[in-house]
């Protein structure tokens, strides 16, 4: 089977989003006695999304895209998402120190001692600047 381009897949995902918007918008009033209803504007941009994404799916170019290094970026994003998800239970200091340690030690391959020092320094800096100096609460 021919390998599809990234444009094809992104177009398909956006077509699904457009379809969802259109279906939802059809459930709301299109026109009311006072004028356009809540479904008026979403219906039109939903149809616009479907039309443009269909164009990408059928006529999109097989543009080469460089995905080398994407693994590093996606791994960092996953670490960020996990650190945000556990904030509620472990607090900012621990979750953010762990995220920093991950970036320094794993992504940039610095020695664990350097990573630990950077993590501690960054967290301490945040505590000094935000809650103490600016009075802004940390998560």
């Amino acid at each position: 089977m021919r390998r599809r381009s990234p444009d094809f897949w992104s177009g398909l995902a956006l077509a699904a989003l457009g379809g969802y918007i259109v279906v939802q918008a059809r459930g709301w009033d299109y026109l009311t006695e006072d004028g356009p209803g809540p479904g008026f504007f979403p219906l039109w941009y939903g149809l616009g999304i479907v039309a443009c994404s269909a164009y990408l799916v059928f006529f999109g170019k097989d543009s080469p895209s460089d995905w080398r290094g994407a693994g590093r970026a996606l791994a960092t994003w996953a670490a960020l998402a996990v650190s945000v998800a556990v904030l509620k239970w472990v607090g900012f200091a621990l979750s953010f120190a762990a995220l920093t340690f991950f970036i320094v030690a794993v992504m940039y391959r610095r020695p664990p001692v350097v990573a630990a020092l950077v993590a501690l320094g960054v967290v301490a800096g945040f505590y000094l600047v935000f809650p103490l100096a600016l009075g802004v609460a940390l998560p």
Partner: protein
């Protein structure tokens, strides 16, 4: 109020010690941000936006604008010393700036960049001061249909100039409109696209989208590379940074045309400083007696784009402050900042808030002088910023983003959204979807829907109201023409070539 009286009032505001301090903080931060590759003004302004809620609006606006135009000064330093643009507007400066540095003329290249930025930046502010008040008076005649048409025109320009693929730029804008539509409909109290989550009833905060797309997306994209670029030696001492009299004579035309082209392109929604700098470079090359030497280290090749990208700032503030229409990602965030502080940017903004408008204008004159002083003798010091290890810098950006969002909303749900928009920002970069149309869609979506629905209420549902009023009809015709450009092959070839040059 006439311009002279307004300017005197503005200097009275801008010269207040607190506002002078914020102006200095803004231009200093802007220079640092401009120098750092991978951290642009939109990301920085978005990150600082939640913190400005604690500040006086005049001081906050002066500081954020300082970051905006200060970054343009700083961007050239990285282009000249590293051959890596500190921000997108300095891409073209790499061509001759880095070539000059390799020939041992880094000092004059940095010096002429600062001088051109100062001259053109000041001309840009002069243009803002002269053009904005009459334009605002003209726009007082606008009603809902004209506003809708104006927003459609602005968005069409952004779509035209933001990406190589019109379909992708349109999709980004439409998704932005959808994000803006999430929440409770103000006309009928209907919940739209809330997925049953209480947190989404009040909509998605623009700051979450902006920080996610710009700051987190940028960090993720930069994390792809492990290596850090090598810095060329930085000349020390003011004497080594000053261009010669011959250099200044060679740059006379570049100063003038860069200032004018930059301002005019800035006023146009969507074009932005990167395009301004490329056009100015092209004009300089076309009219130069030594055009074949461009790219090998010609000083006008630094002065022209650096001038244009600084003058563009003044131009870009014209539609933002007089019509409430931002023309780029950064001005969209500035618009959100004004709304956050309780202002309504539009034709009445200048007359209702003279202190803020004229204070901003005056602060920009002062800021440009501060930047010239900072960027001439202190360039070697600023260049040290480039030695900050990225493994320290990136966690700091992520941390400030998290604390900024939590500080403004106190919601952990917003932090999850932030992570989600960060991923979206990264994927958009990878898949070549421009982010400016999405951000503009989010910022203008609510106002655009309101304007359209008010227009149709006025006409009892008839769309003819949009084309029966001359200004509205004219702007909608332009918007339609712009969107049809891809069908005309020669014009589209020009558009795509310009955008490819910008990316190369």
């Amino acid at each position: 109020m006439d311009i002279a009286a307004g300017l005197i009032q503005g200097f009275a505001v801008a010269l207040q010690p607190a506002n002078l301090l914020w102006c200095f903080v803004g231009v200093l931060l802007g220079t640092v941000v401009g120098i750092m590759p991978g951290l642009g003004p939109p990301a920085t302004i978005a990150m600082l936006l939640p913190l400005t809620a604690l500040m006086n609006p005049a001081g906050a606006m002066i500081m954020l604008a300082g970051i905006y135009y200060g970054a343009k000064y700083g961007g050239s330093t990285t282009s000249i010393l590293l051959n890596v643009p500190g921000e997108s507007a300095s891409v073209v400066t790499c061509l001759d700036g880095y070539a000059m540095a390799r020939k041992g003329r880094a000092g004059p290249a940095l010096g002429i960049a600062a001088i051109a930025s100062f001259i053109a930046g000041t001309v840009g502010v002069l243009g803002l001061m002269l053009v904005a008040p009459p334009l605002a008076r003209f726009a007082l005649a606008f009603s809902a249909p004209e506003y809708f048409a104006l927003m459609a025109f602005g968005l069409s320009m952004v779509v035209l100039l933001a990406g190589r693929s019109m379909a992708k730029a349109l999709l980004a804008m439409l998704v932005g409109l959808w994000i803006a539509g999430i929440g409770t409909d103000l006309f009928t109290s209907t919940s739209r696209f809330t997925f049953g989550r209480m947190e989404l009833l009040s909509g998605i905060d623009f700051v979450v989208v902006a920080i996610g797309i710009f700051a987190i997306g940028e960090v993720l994209a930069n994390l792809e590379a492990r290596e850090e670029p090598q810095l060329l030696p930085v000349p020390k001492g003011l004497r080594n940074l000053l261009p010669t009299m011959q250099d200044l004579r060679d740059c006379r035309f570049a100063f003038a045309q860069g200032s004018i082209i930059g301002f005019l392109i800035g006023v146009l929604p969507g074009a932005g400083s990167t395009i301004a700098s490329f056009i100015s470079y092209g004009v300089e090359k076309a009219f130069s007696r030594r055009r074949e030497e461009f790219g090998t280290g010609v000083i006008e090749g630094v002065a022209a784009p650096e001038g244009a990208n600084n003058s563009e700032t003044g131009g870009a503030l014209v539609p933002l402050l007089t019509l409430g229409i931002p023309g780029s990602g950064t001005t969209a965030i500035l618009l959100a900042a004004l709304v956050l502080w309780g202002f309504k940017p539009g034709p009445l903004f200048i007359s209702e808030n003279p202190n803020l408008f004229w204070g901003l204008v005056a602060s920009m004159y002062i800021g440009n002088v501060m930047l010239l002083i900072l960027n001439l003798p202190l360039v070697p010091l600023f260049a040290q910023v480039l030695r900050t290890p990225v493994y320290v810098l990136y966690p700091l950006i992520l941390g400030v983003s998290i604390v900024g969002i939590y500080g403004s909303s106190g919601s952990l749900f917003d932090l999850m959204l932030l992570a989600g928009f960060g991923l979206l920002g990264y994927l958009m970069r990878k898949l070549d979807y421009p982010s400016a149309p999405l951000i503009l869609g989010v910022v203008l979506g609510g106002a655009m829907e309101r304007a359209l629905r008010q227009s149709l209420m006025m006409s009892e549902g008839s769309l003819s109201i949009l084309v029966s009023r001359p200004i509205s009809a004219l702007m909608l015709s332009f918007a339609l023409l712009i969107l049809l450009i891809p069908l005309f092959s020669r014009l589209n070839t020009w558009r795509v070539r310009a955008l490819e040059q910008k990316d190369s």
